[in-house]
């Protein structure tokens, strides 16, 4: 039982109470029940290529240092000093062997181990009385790295990321495993959007309905050169395990020709064909569908598209972004450019340009999305929004049967539909309801750092 049973019941029936996009109580519940229990993305390994490299990332109120320690291991540590709680690292990117707390000077190695305590003997009685090994920076309760993507979970008892991700893994490989060397990322760009975090997450999960309208200007100026890409109407929506997305229809051909038309070189195509799961190769090569936007629940989205970066050149690009909640009405968007690590510099440069023309705060697609989403959030905070029920039932009849049958000839994992429908948004909200309903985790279990068997030491003599 939760305080939000009415909302959950309504959302499950395909009706969204409008205030869920700007509701402080609900946001507090999301923090405890959604964000504290799910796997959250922090950084990509390529952002910390060398020993000592680090980046600092937030998820809700928590700040984490992602570092590569002196042995080359990736570490994720809670950025809070064990003495009085100061953030030990206040830069967002850099290289260091140690983090020295500015408050009283405790010093930690870049793997989190406490190595220096000022006046250790006089103040604490030395190692006999205060074991430094008991005072390492708190590691993330759980961490997993997939295709170089570093995920953490604040619930140490959560199911492993791979089981949460399930069949979406193949699509993740489409975006982030174009060859044996994987990808590298650039950025991120960060900007504050006065919008609720859910809107971006569910939009990327499969709102193909908005594309022809919101992004009409982009096709009017021929940015994607639609003639080659076909009509959005012929695309699909799929949901597989912990995520879902949409695919874009391609002109007739096979895997090499279809990837060639959107700007991949022969060598890049060959590498993909040898590396991607067969489901992905068949989805593109046989079905003529290429993944476009997608979201892994709760707040990590991906996008692959192509753009004309000059009169004569079409280039594909991939981006990945976090819809990182700040409050019920503000989201920090963190957007990375993602590129095949083995690609040549010229491709990477052109692909970045294509990304930037389309996505990020200045992107010609994304600019218009942001305008819409902030507008929804603003009006969702009022009294009238408490009375308004939004329709999330596209593709369903009144008896809950689907207007169109699921596709039977879809080569990718998961259940897929053609045409238009809010299938994916409903699945995304099912996961959201699941977490709200099961309630918060017991954080007591997870806040203590490991203590040794020395607890029976005399405290005072």
């Amino acid at each position: 039982m939760t305080d939000h049973d009415d909302i959950i019941t309504s959302v499950r029936s395909g009706i969204l109470p409008a205030h869920i996009y700007n509701d402080a109580d609900l946001f507090a519940a999301e923090r405890e029940s959604v964000f504290a229990k799910n796997w959250l993305f922090l950084a990509h390994e390529s952002e910390v290529p060398d020993r000592g490299d680090y980046v600092v990332r937030q998820q809700l109120g928590d700040s984490f240092i992602v570092s590569r320690d002196e042995s080359g291991e990736i570490r994720v540590m809670f950025n809070m000093c064990l003495h009085r709680g100061m953030q030990v690292c206040r830069a967002e990117i850099g290289n260091t062997s140690h983090f020295r707390c500015p408050y009283h000077g405790w010093t930690y190695k870049n793997d989190g181990a406490l190595v220096g305590v000022p006046f250790f003997k006089e103040a604490y009685g030395g190692e006999d009385e205060l074991r430094r090994s008991d005072h390492s920076l708190l590691p993330a309760p759980a961490m997993e790295i997939v295709n170089g993507l570093v995920f953490v979970c604040l619930d140490p008892d959560a199911p492993p990321f791979s089981s949460r991700l399930g069949e979406f893994r193949d699509y993740l490989d489409f975006y982030t495993r174009p060859g044996p060397d994987g990808v590298e990322v650039r950025g991120p760009q960060r900007w504050r959007l006065p919008a609720n975090w859910k809107i971006g997450a569910e939009n990327f999960a499969g709102d193909t309905y908005h594309t022809p309208h919101t992004h009409l200007s982009v096709s009017e100026i021929g940015l994607m050169s639609d003639a080659k890409g076909g009509k959005r109407k012929g695309g699909t929506m799929y949901f597989a395990g912990g995520g879902g997305g949409a695919t874009f229809p391609l002109a007739p051909g096979d895997l090499p020709s279809r990837l060639g038309v959107i700007g991949y070189t022969d060598e890049m195509i060959k590498r993909r064909a040898e590396t991607w799961p067969v489901t992905i190769s068949a989805l593109i090569g046989k079905d003529g569908q290429i993944p476009s936007a997608a979201t892994i629940f709760p707040n990590l989205s991906f996008l692959h598209l192509w753009a004309r970066v000059s009169e004569s050149q079409i280039v594909p690009f991939t981006t990945m972004r976090l819809w990182q909640p700040v409050s019920e009405q503000e989201t920090e968007v963190v957007s990375w450019f993602v590129v095949d690590k083995a690609a040549d510099e010229e491709f990477k440069r052109a692909s970045y340009k294509a990304y930037q023309m389309c996505f990020g705060p200045s992107g010609m697609f994304e600019q218009d999305d942001m305008e819409n989403w902030s507008s929804i959030t603003r009006v969702a905070g009022g009294t009238m929004a408490r009375r308004l029920q939004l329709n999330n039932r596209m593709g369903l009849r009144t008896d809950d049967s689907t207007i169109a049958e699921p596709l039977t000839n879809f080569s990718g994992p998961g259940a897929a539909y053609g045409g238009f429908g809010e299938f994916n948004q409903r699945r995304w909200f099912d996961l959201w309801c699941r977490d709200l309903e099961s309630g918060p985790i017991d954080t007591k279990k997870t806040t203590s750092y490991p203590t040794s068997e020395g607890d029976d030491r005399e405290h005072e003599r």
Partner: protein, 185 residues
Amino acid sequence: MSTSADAGVQYDVGAALSSGDPAHHAAYDFLMAEAQVLDDHDLEQWLDLLCEDVTYRVPVRVTTARGSACDVLGDASHLDEDRYSLGKRIERLRTEHAWAEDPPSRTRHFVTNVRCFATDSPDLLAVTSYLLLFRSRGDARPPDLISGVRSDVLRAQPAGGYRLLRRVVIMDESVLRSQNLAVFL
């Protein structure tokens, strides 16, 4: 870690020109006229102020420890434009479906602290200026404020006057407090 200095156009900058120098006056007039063109949303006229081979870059600013080599990302930017992509952006804003700027923002480009430098090329003038951009949308939402420094290179035109050859804007915030960057800096 991949921060590095911005490469940009290669030229050697000489000493600062006095504010009484005719070249300084010319650069100042250029920037004032440009600000008005931008705030009037006269974007076609703005394009006419740019060289055909213009580059226009707004790199991503990051927070780094004192003593770090750099605090902009060398390989990531909010804008990294040439004449083609700037033209496409303006062409899009001129369609009837560019929601980001419909209704249009009310903007004010405050351009101050102009300094002008001779270069080793007789037709190139290096100009730095501070920018404070005020942007208001809708009725009562908090306005966007973007503060930064521009490093421009102006090229003298055979027919007289200057055009913008290069602009790099270093913003003072690492997190953009603006829903999008649908306006030019």
